[in-house]
């Protein structure tokens, strides 16, 4: 049940929303589509669902070309960002409406709805209206609806973005249990790099409609191929330092350490993170962020350094990676 996108492009009023997207999602694999808002994440999902038509390219589900197939026949299970629950119908009716229009018998409808309700522990809410549910409960109903569809592909459009941070973390294991452990390919759209890394097997990073980089979370973190990727993946954000014209050196805050030799800095601000602290340093190279365990004070003078193996070199103009590590990461990607 693989999902393949070949050269998918879509434009609105002569502006390319997504351009030349190529990727493959295997059975049971979860691919996160990550990127800032307006980068074409949701558009990609809508094209796959069949809600929008691509200008160019083909989509294959299960090795069948579905580019010109109706949305129903594609059999996708989609969870919308705002859940798209029918506000005038009870939870049970929300779930059975799809079965009903697909001609499932009344007895079968009742059976399948009640079994999915108990799997998701929603039994006690079956007569409630969506407005009478909490955010987390609504999300579960939306998941239940996607599960009931018995889809070939799952499409999740920012399923967590309407929930508060604590609930999000609580619901991750449940989402994994219900959908991500299944046999189907899963596309998971998010703008939260942390969530993408936590949930997905691989991440496709989009920038302005283009595929910036695709790979496992580890690949993207350890071998960013461009300034954009380096900046987007990893928090706190990577440091960009300028030693030479036309060249940017990037070092992650967690790879910087206190040392006898190195660069003179002054602590100008600090954030306490619990396990450690995030220091904002001022140096001749510009401002530097570092993660530090020892308790330093503001205005204290320190000397910091890092290993050259932890450095990334980027071209200022193209934003592309220059140092040798790139060849290795290319091999990984084109395997």
């Amino acid at each position: 049940m693989t999902l393949i996108l070949k050269g998918i492009s879509r434009s609105i009023n002569r502006n390319w929303i997504i351009k030349e997207l190529n990727f493959e999602v295997d059975d049971g694999e979860c691919l996160a589509i990550l990127g800032p808002s307006g980068c074409g994440k949701s558009s990609t999902l809508r094209v796959i669902a069949g809600l929008d038509k691509p200008d160019e390219g083909e989509i294959y589900i299960n090795n069948i070309d579905v580019t010109n197939v109706s949305p129903v026949a594609r059999r996708v299970g989609m969870v919308f960002q705002n859940y798209a629950l029918y506000p005038h119908l009870s939870v049970a009716s929300n779930l059975s409406l799809g079965l009903k229009v697909r001609g499932v018998s009344k007895v079968e409808q009742r059976k399948r709805v009640s079994s999915i309700l108990s799997v998701l522990q929603l039994d006690h809410l079956s007569t409630r209206l969506p407005a009478e549910l909490s955010g987390g409960q609504r999300q579960r109903v939306a998941l239940a609806r996607a599960l009931l569809r018995d889809p070939l592909v799952y499409l999740l459009d920012e399923p967590m973005s309407n929930l508060d941070a604590q609930l999000r973390e609580e619901l991750r294991p449940e989402l994994r249990r219900l959908i991500l452990n299944g046999q189907q390919p899963v596309l998971y759209v998010t703008h939260d790099q942390q969530e993408a890394m936590a949930m997905a097997d691989r991440i496709a990073l989009l920038n302005n409609g283009f595929l910036e980089q695709i790979g496992t979370p580890e690949e993207l973190y350890k071998n960013p191929r461009s300034i954009f990727t380096a900046k987007f993946i990893g928090r706190p954000q990577i440091n960009f330092l300028k030693f030479k014209d036309g060249l940017i050196t990037a070092v992650r805050p967690e790879n910087i350490y206190l040392s006898r030799e190195g660069y003179q800095c002054k602590v100008i601000y600090k954030e306490w993170l619990g396990m450690n602290q995030l220091l904002f340093l001022e140096s001749s190279l510009g401002s530097i962020k570092m993660i530090c365990k020892s308790d330093l004070k503001v205005n204290e003078k320190v000397t910091v350094n890092w290993d050259t193996k932890d450095e990334f070199q980027f071209d200022t103009h193209t934003g592309k990676r220059l140092d040798k590590a790139i060849t290795k990461s290319k091999q990984i990607i084109s395997r």
């Binding site: 009870s90 229009v101 609806r145």
Partner: protein, 288 residues
């Protein structure tokens, strides 16, 4: 303290609503006409006895109900169709939306005059068309069986845009992802109208139906200008009958009785409508 904050609103309601109604009721149990020198004299409810056996009143009630239900039904159906059309994306939508509102923006007396000429015999275009088709003159406005239909047509023309704009606003509150989710689940366009659009449009339909019933029940200016209540009182509404009694016969007591009874009947309809709607709502959420 809370009561104090409500006071301005209560005073306003009292002045514009409670006082006139109480005054009408008070007038309805008095004789107040040229016969009494326009001085109200208590007459022990003889106005109410008179109205019960007043054939013209019951005939006008029948006409008002016929006019209300025919025009409101046609208006609602037409408005749904037009609102759905104008909710689609197409070029020049803004201009067409604005134009479609024009009939409602016209003063009733002016559009009623226009319609009187349209139905005029022999100069109006409708008669001309019938003549051209070889059917001959039908004299719509002088035919007691047909004239009320002409008033319904004029009313539909004028007030459909009003309902349409309420329904259009309602349509725009329905999130598009509901339709998309339904489409992915296998719903057709027609099913999505009956399963999503119609139930979610219900509050807007209720509002416009109640508005329109109340408005059409008190219709006056359209009838007054178009037919003057004729021919043979066949298009006379209750509003017009109350007006004739007070302004032509100068019988304020009886006119107030007509107005008060009309008011009670209208409230009855509103309560009935409310009950029907609240029942259907409960029915909708559990069963699809």
């Amino acid at each position: 303290m809370n009561i104090l904050l409500l006071l301005p609103a209560l005073i306003l309601i009292f002045i514009v609503f409670v006082i006139p109604i109480v005054r009408y009721y008070w007038l309805s149990i008095h004789a107040s006409s040229v016969m009494t020198g326009l001085i109200p004299v208590p007459n022990n409810g003889s106005n109410w006895l008179r109205i019960l056996s007043d054939d013209r009143f019951w005939q006008d009630l029948f006409q008002t109900l016929r006019f209300t239900f025919t025009s409101v039904t046609i208006e609602i159906l037409l408005a749904i169709v037009i609102a759905l059309l104008l909710n689609q994306k197409f070029q020049g939508r803004g201009i067409i939306r604005a134009i479609s509102l024009l009939p409602w923006a016209l003063p009733t007396t002016i559009m009623a005059l226009g319609w009187r000429w349209i139905f005029n015999t022999p100069y109006g275009p409708i008669e001309q068309i019938f003549t051209l088709l070889g059917i001959g003159t039908i004299n719509i406005l002088s035919n007691p069986h047909l004239a009320w239909i002409a008033t319904v047509i004029a009313d539909v023309w004028k007030t459909t845009p009003f309902i349409m704009i309420i329904l259009l606003a309602g349509l725009q509150t329905i999130p598009s992802d509901l339709y998309e989710a339904f489409k992915l689940e296998g719903g057709t366009e027609i099913q999505s109208f009956f399963k999503i659009t119609f139930p979610l449009l219900q509050p807007y339909l209720i509002i416009s139906i109640l508005f329109r019933i109340a408005q059409a029940f008190g219709v006056f200016d359209l009838i007054q200008v178009m037919t003057g209540g004729g021919p043979a009182n066949s298009t006379e509404s209750l509003g017009l009958y109350a007006y004739i009694n007070s302004m032509r016969f100068l019988d304020f007591g009886y006119s107030a009785t007509i107005i008060f009874l009309t008011f009670i009947i209208l409230i009855g309809f509103c309560i009935l409508g409310w009950l029907l709607i609240s029942q259907s709502k409960r029915f909708l959420s559990s069963e699809i």
